[in-house]
Structures are given as C-alpha cells and as structure tokens.
C-alpha cells in the first residue's frame, strides 16, 4: 500500500460508493449527489443573511444522521454534504454583503465596505463576479495546500505552541483586531472589551453563573448565534431601516440601484486583481492552518494588507478602499475563502477545529464513528489498509469536486443573484429580520434567545451610530471563551505560575507584539493632528 494507492482508494470511495441512481448506465454515487445538494444549499443559505453555513450545517446534521445511520458508509455522504454547505456558504455570503450592505456571514463584513459602494455605482454584477473569482481562487489554492501539507504542517505548528503561547497568540489577535479595524485604537478596544464582557456572562468553570445577577435567563450565558447575528445582522438592519426612513422622509422615494455600464470581468481586471488575491490567499491559508483563528481575522488581515498595497499602486482616478474598489472585494473574499481548506489541516491532523464549520465536520465524524480526526488518520500503513486515511482522501476528493462546482455552477448562481437587487428594501429588511430571528429560534428554541438577539441588535445599531466597528465585538465574543479556557489551562499546566505569559519566551515575544501593536497604532494617529 503506497501513498498513491491510498489516493486512488479515496477517489474511488467517492465515485464508486453506494449508487443513488444511474444516468445512461453510469451509476451516480450518493456521495456525489450529496456534495452537489450541499453546495446548492450552502449558496442559498450563505446568500440569506441570518442563515450562515454553520446554522445550515447544525440543522442538516441531525437529519442526515437519521437518514444515513451510524455506519462508516455514511461518513462520506454526510461529510460531503457538510463540505458542500461550507463551500457554498463562503461564496454565497458575499451576495447580500454586496447587494444589501448586510453580510450573510460574519467574515463577509469587510466585503460590504467596497461591495456595497460598487452596487450604489451600478456595478453590482461586476462586484459579484470579482467576489466569485477571488473566492473560488482562494478556496482552490487553500485546498491544494491542505492536500499537500495536512500531514505535516499542523503537527509542526502544534509542536512549537504550548498553552502559554496559545494564550498569548489569542491576546495578540485581539489587540491587533481592536486596533486595526475601524481606524481608532480606543474605539476598537471599547468594542473588544464589550465583546469579552458579553462572552463572560454566565460562563466560566465555577458552578455559580457569574455576572448573571441572579437572573435565570442569563445563567446559561448568551448563545453565540444571538450575539453574532444580533450585532452584525439585526444591528445592520436597524441602521438600514433608520437610513431608509430618513431618506424617505426627505425625498419620499426609496433608493434603487440599477446596473449600468460594463459588468464583465475582463482579462485586464483579472491581471489587476491577481496580486491581491494571491496575497490574501496566502494570508488566509496561513491563518486557517492555525487552530482557533478563523476566517474573520483572515478577511480583516487580507483587506488591510490589500489596502496598504493599493494605496501605493492605485491609479489616481480609481476609487479608494472603502469607496468601491474591486481590489477590496477581491482581497477580502480570497482571504476568507482560503481559510476553509486550510482550516481542515488542524481538524484532520489534530482534531482541533479552527471555525464553526470545522466543528460540525468533527461532530459528524464523531457521531457516525469510524473516523477519528487526529494524528492516527495520517498513518500510511503498508501492511494493511488504514480506513481512516481512505476517508481522509475521500474528503479531499469531495472538496475538489465542490471546487469544480464552485467554478461552474457557483458563478452562474451568483450572477443570477444580481436580480435580488430589484427586491425593494422595505420588503427585504423586515424579511431579513424575520429570517434571522427564525434562524436563531431554530438553533436555540427558547424565547430568551429572541430577546437577547434583539438586545444585541440594538447594541449593534448604537455602535454603528457612534461609528464603533461591531466586528471587534463579535471576534472578542467568539474568542473570549477560548481565551479564558487557554489562560486557565496555561496557568494550571505551569503549576500555578501567575507570570506564565512572560516567563515563557515565546509567549513573552507575542505579548510584546500585542502591546507594540496598540502603541504604534495610537502614535500613528496622533501624527496628522
């Protein structure tokens, strides 16, 4: 059994699995159908604000498992469907971000910055083409890296990062995000602080639900969907409704954006975008390979790096980043899409998920059985077949099929989404609100979740009103639990050393970088004044 035999067996497992039906005598395996179904579902939910990929995966998983059961044969169809959703949602998330200034997924937030201004200029279809091209390129690049590096890379990263370094790395990420997004270090830190505060309500290791002020509703903490969807989507909807109301009162008409001019993506455009896509794909892939740091940070970094390059290279008459530059969309979408493939490096080789989508893949593998993501997957046994390695190559095959769909059907679907712009906003915004609340209720099934989401929506609205970016809030909320967990574990693992962040050289360097980021950004802002 050589490496090549394993690759071949993985491909065969996808194409020659149990057949669902046959076309002209060629039987179509159920796995292929599931990847296709998942991909279409993914684009649809990604394009629907409030129904991001993880929500669809969460709803689909229990249904799929009850259909396919607990045999190893169920692994590839179920995980193929989930991978399809993951890929579809990544490109789908850009559609509402570009057309409606409402990110379908948290990592598409940066796409709104340039995508929506392009729509306002009548370049919606072109913006969608740019997003699709960047997204599909980043995704495919990332998958190729995954397939080549999975067995080696994550094992090495993990070998050099101990618990104190992981804690310091999270602190560095948070301080970086706080200072880089939104332009003001102080506003960013306020947003981050609020996010951490919300994350620490009702959580923690003690049996007493901390910060809950004796309220049973708060004792379970805020569900992640309520905070993320509330601040990002409901907050945006409320702000949009306000803008709409103001404009309607002023002029009596609703804004409508008609496409005008050339909407095609020309060879020259592609050549201009490629340097941004390439850089962002590298950033996204590198970040995706680090366990626990997800696509939102990648999108932010990709956008920031793209912005500084653009400032040096742009033609004088071209729009600035944030004013509708196609390069901004390309930099963001390539970065957040290239996370998804690389994210599976720590998942497959260590069993540690880097984002919510990866969590559901692990849950699927665990619930079904027969595939334990972890170091044992990549043992190339020669005397007997290692079935887990076959599944791993089957998953790689599923990802490549999904990429193929992405380049073909994905593009068509996204372009057809251009007609969504004709839906009037006073119909769409309430529908989005209703869908979001329904999605939250589907996931949480308790009425408090709706109140929480509306509360976070108001918070998101207020933050937008005073020009504080809600993104550091969301990232801090997501990483808050992980940060506390890592810090507690590092403290315990070092035998109760309170200085664990500074006595460990690796952690000390990362902490110094975290401080430096804050000091340098605040200094830079004083200069012009």
């Amino acid at each position: 059994m050589g490496t090549f035999d394993y690759i071949l067996m993985g491909i065969q497992a996808v194409f020659q699995g149990p057949a669902l039906f046959s076309i002209l005598g060629v039987s179509i395996s159920v796995t292929l159908v599931m990847i296709f179904g998942g991909f279409l579902t993914g684009i649809a939910v990604g394009a629907t604000p409030g129904l991001a990929g993880p929500v669809a995966m969460a709803i689909a998983l229990p249904i799929l498992i009850s259909v396919f059961g607990y045999t190893p044969d169920a692994l590839l169809p179920v995980m193929g469907f989930l991978i399809g959703i993951m890929k579809g949602a990544t490109i789908g998330g850009a559609v509402p971000a570009i057309l409606f200034n409402t990110p379908g997924t948290p990592d598409a937030f940066m796409t709104t910055l340039d995508g929506y201004p392009m729509t306002k200029r009548g370049k919606a279809k072109k913006a969608l083409r740019v997003a699709h091209f960047a997204s599909a390129s980043g995704d495919t690049f990332s998958d190729i890296v995954l397939i080549i590096c999975a067995p080696f890379l994550a094992l090495m990263v993990e070998a050099y990062l101990d618990l104190p370094e992981k804690t310091a790395l999270l602190i560095l990420s948070l301080s970086f995000i706080a200072t880089v997004i939104g332009g003001s270090a102080a506003k960013g830190l306020i947003s981050t602080g609020l996010g951490l505060l919300a994350a620490y309500i009702g959580t923690g290791e003690d049996f007493y639900p901390r910060l809950s002020m004796g309220q049973p509703a708060l004792s379970q903490g805020f569900p992640i969907a309520t905070a993320v969807l509330g601040v990002l989507i409901i907050g945006a909807v409320l702000k949009e409704l306000e803008d709409l109301w103001r404009r309607k009162r002023d002029s009596g008409t609703l804004p409508e954006h008609r496409d005008k001019g050339d909407q095609r993506l020309r060879g020259a455009d592609v050549r201009r975008l490629l340097p941004y896509i390439g850089r962002s794909a590298l950033i996204g892939t590198a970040i995706g390979a680090l366990p626990g740091i997800g696509s939102t940070l990648a999108a932010t970094l990709g956008y920031t790096v793209g912005k500084s390059r653009y400032a040096r290279k742009k033609r004088p008459d071209a729009p600035e980043f944030g004013q509708g530059a196609a390069e901004g969309i390309a930099a963001t979408e390539a970065a957040n899409s290239s996370v998804s493939g690389a994210n599976l490096i720590p998942v497959l080789s260590l069993g540690i998920p880097g984002n919510a989508a990866a969590v559901f893949l692990i849950l699927a593998a665990e619930s079904i059985g027969g595939f334990n993501p972890g170091p044992s997957v990549f043992r190339f046994t020669t005397d007997s077949v290692n079935p887990e390695l076959v599944v791993a190559f089957g998953l790689f095959t599923a990802m490549m099929i999904a990429n193929l769909l992405n380049w073909t059907v994905g593009g068509l679907f996204m372009r057809s989404m251009g007609v969504m712009i004709r839906i009037p906003k006073h119909v769409l915004l309430p529908s989005v609100l209703l869908l979001t609340l329904t999605a939250i209720y589907v996931q949480e099934t308790r009425i408090e979740a709706i109140w929480f989401a509306l509360g976070f929506g108001v918070l998101g609205y207020l933050m937008r009103a005073v020009a504080i970016s809600p993104l550091p809030f969301v990232i801090a909320f997501i990483l808050g639990g992980k940060l506390e967990e890592n810090a507690r574990q590092a403290f315990a693992a070092t035998g109760g050393d309170p200085w664990f962040l500074f006595t460990n050289p690796g952690a000390a360097i990362l902490m110094a970088m975290a401080l430096a980021v804050i000091i340098l950004t605040s200094r830079k802002q004083k200069d012009p004044a």
């Binding site: 498992i65 993990e158 540690i352 334990n372 972890g374 170091p375 315990a492 693992a493």
Partner: protein, 316 residues
C-alpha cells in the same frame, strides 16, 4: 460495601420489571419536553434525540427536544425543577449532576427535587496517555513524576479534578491538574502534547485499540473492559471513583404509572441494539446500563451523600 450496594441495584432492577404491567396504560397528557444537558450534535445529544425518535415510532408519544446546557447539568436541573411532574417534562444528564455537582454548587437543590427515570449507559473512564510518552504502566508515570517531571493531568469536571488531586496525594506526587471542556477536549490536549495524561470516558477506545493511546488506570471501581490489567483507583489508594451514568430525570413527585411507563419505554429502547439509539450506545459507550426505579433513587441519593465525603477529602 460498594459491591453489596451494586448487588442491591441488580436485585431491585428486577422489581421494576414486575411493575411494568401497571404502567402499560399510561399515555402522556401532551407532548413531552425533552431537555438535553449536552451540546447539540455530540454523542450524548444524539443519544437523547435517537431515543426520542424511536419512542415516537414505538409508542406514538410526541417529543420536543431542547438544549439546556452548562454548569455540569445544573442549568438543566434548575429549569426542569419547575416543570409539571406529569411526565410531560424530562431531561438527560449524568449522575454526577445530581451527585457531586449539586452538592458542590450548593445550589439549593438535592436529588429529592427530581424523579430518577432510568440510566442508559455507563462510562469507561480511564486515565489515558499517549503511547509515545513512553509510559507503559501507571507506575512508569509516577516514577517520571517523582524524578521531577511536571505531569499535566487533564480533567473535564470538578469532580474528576478532585479525583486527580486525591490520586496524586495517594501516590505522593503533585499533578498540574488542568480543567478541560469535555472528554474530547482532554483527548485533543493529550494528542497535541498540551497535556501528559487525562481522563477519558470511552472516547479513547479506538486510539487504545490502534496502539496510539494507553489506559494507565481505571478511574472506576472496577477494571476497564478494554484494559483489565490497568489498576483501579481503589488499587492506587483512592477510595472514591468516577463511576457514573447518563440518566433521564423528571421533576419530583412524578406519579408511579408515568415514571414506570417512561423508564420502561426508554430502557427497552437502549437495551435493543437493533435500534439506532441502542446501536449508538453500544458503539460509543460500551453497551447499555439501564438502572431504574428504587435502585436508581438509591444510586442518586448515595452519589449525593458521598459527594460531601469526596469534597472534604479533596479540601484537606
């Protein structure tokens, strides 16, 4: 003492079967709210949902599953306590929730506030290390610790952290005890090298069979099925164990016919490995363990009472 108690459980289990005719006529007065104390999508959550699905098919009852997670099952207990006790609200937790966690949290609840329905499966709780750590037996690990090596010990609940502390104390070493979320978290930590050793409640079975992981000790009062030669906590000088089960509970004062009907229906599903639920339990938790009726009431009361002793021992 423990063994006599276990024999008692077995005997009482037989009594429950005798009362089953009495329960045959009971039907729930409405849909049954099923609270699940575990994260959606995990093995425990899937178990609860599959049992509900099978009961809907067999009995025609209607279930509404709902996640109530956090605080070691105490959030669920709190929510379930105030529900009607006519059999229309039940929850799935672990016995540790009503035992150690309730005692340690001082949350104003005792097992008397609940009606135990039935357990579904036990844990195969081992003390597990990675094979390439070079520790073939428990003694190898103690020798390494005594030679000055820091040993990071992963535990997924406060009770287990106490047990790890008592284990170190009995063996004359200080473990660096690291609290980790869930058995999967312990396994990730051990595999990634962040932890040297940790508690795993059955999740290690495959890794041990493949030779990647090794069960150094059984944290139960009996040897592990997979590694019977590994010493138990009793052998190692700890008088407490991590024995525990998944358990369905309802609010206190549930009528006998409702209680018997629910526990009989659930235990017949989990004991039948041709059902999806039974198949999962066999695969993930090493087979069913259905304790119900008075035996369960006694088990829960005993767990709660002995939690105080464990807390006292661990705070000495």
């Amino acid at each position: 003492m423990k063994r006599i108690f276990k024999a008692g459980i077995a005997a009482l289990g037989a009594v429950v079967v005798a009362t089953s005719a009495f329960a045959a006529d009971w039907t729930p007065p409405g849909p049954i709210k099923l609270m699940i104390g575990f994260k959606a999508g995990g093995g425990a959550d899937t178990q609860a949902r599959l049992i509900a699905e099978e009961l809907e098919a067999r009995m025609g009852w209607k279930f509404i599953p709902e996640q109530v997670t956090g605080k070691g099952g105490l959030n669920l207990a709190n929510a379930l306590k105030g529900q009607p006790n006519d059999g229309t609200a039940i929850g799935l937790v672990v016995t540790e929730t009503l035992g150690y966690n309730m005692a340690a949290a001082n949350a104003g609840m005792t097992p008397d506030d609940f009606t135990g329905l039935t357990t579904t499966a036990g844990f195969q709780m081992g003390v597990v290390a990675r094979t390439d750590k070079g520790w073939a037996t428990f003694d190898d690990m103690i020798a390494a610790a005594k030679a000055g090596q820091d040993v990071r010990f992963g535990a997924m609940s406060p009770k287990l952290a106490d047990l790890a502390y008592l284990l170190g104390k009995a063996q004359g070493v200080d473990f660096n005890i690291v609290n980790v979320k869930g058995g999967k978290g312990v396994m990730n930590g051990v595999n990634a090298g962040d932890l040297d050793v940790g508690f795993m409640a059955g999740i290690q079975t495959k890794g041990v069979a493949a030779g990647d992981l090794v069960n150094l000790a059984s944290a139960l009062s009996v040897p592990l099925v997979q590694t019977p030669e590994a010493p138990t906590f009793g052998d190692l000088g700890v008088e407490f164990s991590a024995d525990g089960y998944f358990v369905f509970i309802g609010p206190a004062g549930m009528p006998d016919d409702a209680r018997a009907a629910l526990s009989n229906a659930i235990s017949s599903v989990v004991s039948d490995d041709s059902t999806k639920a039974g198949g999962l339990i066999k695969k993930a938790f090493g087979g069913p363990a259905a304790i119900s009726g008075d035996a369960l009431t006694e088990l829960l009361a005993n767990d709660y009472a002995s939690a105080g002793a464990l807390l006292d021992a661990a705070s000495e």
